[in-house]
Subunit: 381 residues, 3 copies
């Protein structure tokens, strides 16, 4: 199969315009006729490959690239035109080269991706009353429970297990060994990676003496459209109400979402994040890897939380929040961590010293010395 | 199916007593005859639903609730009787409304839960010498190894894999895709969520030059009765001895328990906790999400560890322990984290200043000045 | 089956030499004829068992052990010979008792391990063009995709799913329910524990307004020889280039390796570590449990990172690095964490005090007072 695509066809589909540099080596004639098959970095691209310039820092790599074409902003192209030598690659001018790269790369990948045959693979088991949309496919050994509704063209991978009454929208893709518990809902164009578990019980127990009594978790997980869920990520079902994941949310691997959590649209979380029960995270937030948000907190829209930070109080304002111990040489850490524990004492000694010095100054120099700043009142970590 | 249950029948089973408020709207006649189907929060409950008052803070929501009945302590009911208007719901007086809610909700859930048919589902594979208890069920595609013993009424979910010689007690429930390695033991009434892995090798290697030589992990995992294990949680088998999980332990999702760990009865751990090899955790402890306990440490009974804290030394006394960097605005964190690294230097400067001031005071004012407090000796993080 | 092995045969295979203590109780005649079946600790070993002395701290346990034989260094044996009573066990003198223990224990375990029958178990599905090496075995319900190449004697566990074009070397062992995505490569003698996911998409999205556009992840995961991968660990495929794991790398459970990460040979990582995208970790490093390495950083060879530490800048020198908040009593933590946030202010006050005292000293005692140390310039966390 020749999977090379004409640049002109891609531009017609994704927008922007082509510009062939004067004197470029491989701009023989019509740039729209150049054929490409995929992407590589500016430094590594070769014949038949495209590249992109998203970060102006790499602008100096454009003239030397052997890529056939480079997705680039007008401003970067203008700066390059002034430079010498001019780039030999075709320049594909567009507003957002990185997003256009993503879209074009998707289109090229779709050309070579082999979709499984529609219908049931050997060993798949589908409940008699489950509904499969047109061209949906159920992989080998997958199990689809009673009353499930699977959208058109949705692919359920090998060994997936869907409980009773699960609804999944159209054009979704579950990789192998995903488990979705009873009654959970996924939207259209979902991508769920292997080993993810959606709808397991939230962690709810009532204390009764020394023992714990399980609280049935009777809510669901309800997931919007265009959500991606990483490998081995777990999203718990709600206790009484539902756990809700908004449209366009992107969750990396090994994330844990507790019961009754709500996550706003287009929020993205890196791997190993943990969100405790009943927390609400706004829209368009980013959460760095390994960060933790404690239960029942509210995080506003447009909040960015750094990796490894622990959110212990609600964050009502957009902004960038951080909190982790800075790494250092182990011996230096041992010293600073030891002093850290004595910080309240150091502060007391500092205050005492300030008062002593102020008193001495006031007795020797009169009433001019200012009182030391107060700091003892409303400390909260 | 009419799954509504008479309040009187529930009270007969779970204890407490019913009290109908004078003048209540829906207390028409005998409160024991009121029929209910499930629970909701005080604010959201409607006809046919019960609710509960566990936290006196929400007492003000009781008069307005549309719940048919409210589980409540005598003391809260007394306080409400003084208020006006009196609650219209039937009050179900009991000692521990939250635990009673949990038990009643379980009973109501059992009424609607559809147990799988006993025996082997299509595609299940059971070794000829494995023993299945009465009414045990083995889900589609599950694999039961040689010599396994499965208790009565225990349900093994779709795609579960049990190695050779695994023992599981009665009335247990393994959700889909749980893996239990050879020779591991689970007690009665276990609940294990999807993707959990019990009995994988502990992380044991001997160094030999630059390379690592694997140390066979020949112990087992031995789990008591009434244990719940969350989705994608992993519990490693012991190296020479066993890894042991006590009765009534509750483990949330994505927890990692290393080899030879021992966890005491009724200890509960939130998601993403990691317990390193050979650590011993006492009974009735709680461990917050993302906390880490390092290897070979001992944690006493009745210890509470906050989320995201790192236990680096044994905790011999019951109590509440915490250690993580407080989150803040990123710019503020950058400043405080930078100074943190210079904390030992700041302490030295403070001490020097104290000594200078004391010396100046002593030379000008005589021998009255006290020496500064000593702080240089036994610092340990 | 008699699985007891003569000590003499083991020494011939693994090196070292046997020495029977004068007057030992069970050294009847030829120590090489002693037969053993396995290992236990010095304190717990009984008849037929061996033990080892790796840490000289436990040397005092050797005389009393009931083990048949003890792997021991010459220097420890010499020290014991001076002690009284002399050990009754046979001493197996070798250079590295812990590594020899590991190798001998492996050999003993191999004697009792039951390998699955070669070929396909019931329910296994193998693509017609996949190649299986001699005596390779495919477990119940496992799915092997088109064009896969499986090495000789390699065992694929129940329910594993291998995508198209996966290559796995000889003598490897995949436990149940491992997923390997298309085109990924594992070397010889790999051990992969249950639930691991190799080759899921890296977390790559381009922002386009509020939404995210997925960047296809077209690289592979390429894993060297002698690598062990823990339960539920995830290793993402590269975006454009590959994710590369070197020979002899050991990864514990629930580790997350992002796209385009490179890990050098013989590096070992404890459970719950997260390595963000495009980070490069050197050879022979160790990373403690729960540590995080941020994206695009470089960690040199022979670096040791403590548990729970967050690597936020490249570590170019070998050494031991640490950074986490020391745990303490919760009340003490609340105080120190509160002061921590005011650390920049405390430093300012200290500096002001130093300047005031220096000025006072200089005005009263002349020009001898030194200026306070400067600290305000290049702080970075």
């Amino acid at each position: 199969v020749d999977r090379a695509v004409r640049l002109g066809d891609l531009v017609a589909r994704f927008g922007g315009r082509l510009e062939s540099s004067a004197g470029g080596e491989n701009s023989s004639g019509d740039p729209a006729a150049t054929r490409v098959t995929g992407f590589a970095s500016l430094a590594e691209a070769g014949p038949g490959q495209m590249s992109f310039l998203a970060n102006p820092r790499y602008r100096k790599d454009v003239p030397a690239t052997r890529a056939e074409a480079v997705l680039i902003r007008q401003s970067d192209a203008d700066a390059l035109r002034a430079a010498s030598p001019p780039p030999s690659a075709v320049l594909w001018l567009c507003d957002n080269p990185y997003a256009t790269f993503a879209r074009v790369a998707q289109a090229l990948q779709d050309l070579v991706r082999v979709a499984p045959a529609p219908g049931l693979a050997p060993g798949a088991q589908v409940a008699p009353d489950a509904q499969l949309g047109a061209d949906a496919s159920i992989g080998p050994g997958a199990v689809i429970g009673a009353g499930c509704v699977i959208g058109a063209r949705t692919q359920i991978g090998a060994g997936c297990v869907l409980g009773a009454g699960v609804h999944i929208g159209a054009d979704s893709l579950l990789y192998p060994r995903v488990v979705v518990y009873d009654a959970c809902v996924l939207g259209a164009r979902a991508i769920v990676h292997a080993g993810a578990v959606i709808g397991a019980d939230g962690f709810g127990f009532a204390r009764d003496g020394a023992a714990w009594v399980k609280i049935p978790q009777t809510g669901r997980v309800v997931i919007g459209d265009d959500v991606e869920i990483g490998a081995n990520t777990t999203i718990d079902r709600g206790a009484l109400a539902d756990t809700v994941i908004g449209d366009g949310v992107k969750l990396d691997n090994q994330i844990q979402i507790g019961h009754n959590v709500r996550i706003g649209a287009h929020t993205a979380m890196a791997a190993c994040v943990g969100i405790a029960g009943s927390a609400t995270v706004g829209a368009r937030c980013t959460v760095g890897g390994g960060a933790i948000i404690l239960g029942h907190l509210k995080v506003a829209d447009d909040v960015n939380i750094s990796a490894a930070s622990v959110v212990t109080h609600s964050l009502h304002q957009p902004g960038h929040y951080t909190g982790f111990y800075p790494i250092g040489d182990n011996a230096a850490w041992e010293k600073s961590a030891a002093v850290l524990k004595r910080l309240p004492e150091l502060r007391t000694r500092l205050r005492r010293l300030e008062q002593g010095v102020a008193a001495a100054a006031s007795s020797s120099a009169g009433p001019a010395a200012a009182p030391p700043p107060s700091d003892a009142t409303t400390d909260k970590p």
